[in-house]
Symmetry: C2
Subunit: 339 residues, 2 copies
Amino acid sequence: MSASVKLTLDEVHSLSIEVLSHAGFGQAHAQAIANMLYTCQLDDCQSHGLFRLFMCIETIKAGKIDPQILPTVHETEASIIHADARGGMSLLAIDSAMPKLIEKTRKHGIAALAVNHCFHFSALWPEVERLSRAGLAAMAMVPSHSWVAPAGGMRGSLGTNPLAFSWPRSGQDPFTFDFATSAFARGEIELYRRAGKALPEGVAIDQHGQPTTDAQAALDGAMLTFGGYKGSALSIMIELLAGPLIDDMTSLESMEFAAGAGGAPHHGEIILAFDPNLFSGGKVTENHHRAERLFADILEQGARLPSQRRYAARARNLERGYVEIPQQLHADLLKLTGP
Amino acid sequence: MSASVKLTLDEVHSLSIEVLSHAGFGQAHAQAIANMLYTCQLDDCQSHGLFRLFMCIETIKAGKIDPQILPTVHETEASIIHADARGGMSLLAIDSAMPKLIEKTRKHGIAALAVNHCFHFSALWPEVERLSRAGLAAMAMVPSHSWVAPAGGMRGSLGTNPLAFSWPRSGQDPFTFDFATSAFARGEIELYRRAGKALPEGVAIDQHGQPTTDAQAALDGAMLTFGGYKGSALSIMIELLAGPLIDDMTSLESMEFAAGAGGAPHHGEIILAFDPNLFSGGKVTENHHRAERLFADILEQGARLPSQRRYAARARNLERGYVEIPQQLHADLLKLTGP
C-alpha cells in the first residue's frame, strides 16, 4: 500500500482554494469547485476529489475556459430554469440556480434546470443528493466526449454519459446513484494501460471495431456502453436530453470543440427535480414507508444500496475530522499552490 | 414455420373489439385497448399485439378489475396531470389525459402524467411515440411484479420495470425505445421452459439465489436485471418514480395485491414530457440538426436505431393493408368472440 497523508477537512477545502486561485479561477468559482471536491473527498471518492484539481488546471491551460466569468440565471413562467455558465466551469452556474430550481419544483411539482455552455468535470451525485436533502427526487445527466460506440457500432459516437438519481429518505441519507453509461470509466482504461493489464472482455473495441482487451487499442478505438443495446439506448437518450433538448452540444460536437485540447469537456447538463408532496397529493409519509419497505427488502437479502459505501466513509471521516489521500498526490498538489 | 393467416387492418381492430366486448369490457375501454393492440400488431410486435387479448381476459377472470369504470382526470396549477383509472385498465385513463399532458407541457416546458390505480399490460412505446408525434420528447416508466432480484440479491424485489423514451424527428418517425430493465422478458423464460431449452447465463437465479440456466428454476427463483448493478439501480429508480412518488404501489405491493391471481398487474405509471421549443428557447430547427447528426453518425457505422425494425414492419403492413398472425392464435381468438 502506498503512503498516505491525513488532511483535516478544513485543509481539503483550503488546499483546493489555494490551487484553484493560483491557477486563475475567480473567487466564486474557486469556492464552488472547492465545495464539490470537498464533498467527494469526504466520501473517499478519490477519482472525483482533490485529484480533479489537475483537470481543473488542465482546463485553464487548454485556453478555452473563462475562469472568472460569472454565470447568469434566467427564469420564466415555465417550469424550466436556464443557467448559462457563459464558458465557465459548471459548478457556480449550478449553485446559483439551485435555490430557484427547488422553489420552482415546489411550485410546479416537476421542474428542470438546463445548464448551458459549461466546462464539466464533476460527479453528478452531489447535485442530486443536494436536491433530496431539500425533500425532492432528482435526476441529472450530462454528455462528455464521443469515446463510446453505440451497440453494433464501430467507433465512438456517444459520451460516457452518466445518469444520477436521488430519492429523499426521512431521517436517513438519500438513496442516490450516479453511474456512467459506458461499461468502464475512461480513467480506468488509462490505469490498465499504465499497469500493462488486460481489460475485461466486453468493455472496448479497437479502431477497426473489433472487440479488444488491450488498453492502448481501446484508447485508440472506442469504449462500449454497459448493458448492450439497452445501455446504448439510454446513452443516446442522455445525449438528446442534455444536448439538443437544451440547445447545447452532443458529445460528438464537444469533442470537436475541444479539438484535442486537454481538460474538461464543454457542453450542457440537465437536472430534473420532482416534489413527492405535489405528486402524491400530500401523502409523503405513507409513500416514504412504501419506499423504505423496498429498501429494507433489498438490504435483507444481502444486497447493497448504491451509496452505502460512500455514506459510511462520510460518517467515518466526519467523525474523525480528516481524510486520507496519497502522499504523492498531496506533494504534487502542494507544487501547484506556489509559483 | 407455422401456418399464418392474413388479417386486414380493420379486422385486427374489429376482432379485438369483439373479444374485449364479449369478455365484458365497456365500449370505451374496448376501443382504447383495441387501438393499442392494433398499434403493436401493425409493427409486427407479436408479444404485445393481439396475443395480449388473452391477458386482458385473464385480468377480468382474476376478478379484481372493473372493466366498465371510467377514469377521472385531475389537473391543477402544477405541471402534473393526475389520471385515476379507478381500478380499470390503464389505457383509457392515459388516452383521456394525453391532450392535457400535451397542453401542460407546451405551457410549462416539462410536465408529468401520473396514472394511478390501473391494471397494466401494454407496451410503453406507443405512448411516448404519440407524444413525439406532437413534437415533444417523452419518457415513461412502470413497475410490475417483484420477479426481479436487485444486483447482489437472492430473490425478487423489483419488477421488470420498463423504460421507454421518444424524441421527435422532423419529417421522420421518432427515435423511440422501450426496454425492460430485467435481462430477459418473463414471457421468454416461459417459452424456454416449454421448449425445454437452457437459458443464457446471467439472466436468472434459482430459489436459493444461485445462478441458473434452468427455466423452471428461474421461474421459481428470480430474474436478474440487465447490466448488473447499473441496471439494478435504474430499476429501483423506476420503482420509486412510478410508485411511491405518485402515491402508488411498488412491484412488491402489486404482487401481494394480485395474491396469485393471473392477468395484468395493478399499479401506477408515470410519463414525463419535454417541449424542445421551450427548453431550447425556440431553437428547435438548429437542435434537430444536432440530433440528426448523431443519428446519422450511428447509422453510418452500421449500427441501428432502436425502432428501425418496427417502423419498417409498419410501413410494409400499411402498404399491403394486412398483418400476418399465427393461425393457431387466430383460431383461439375466434373462440373468444362467441358464447
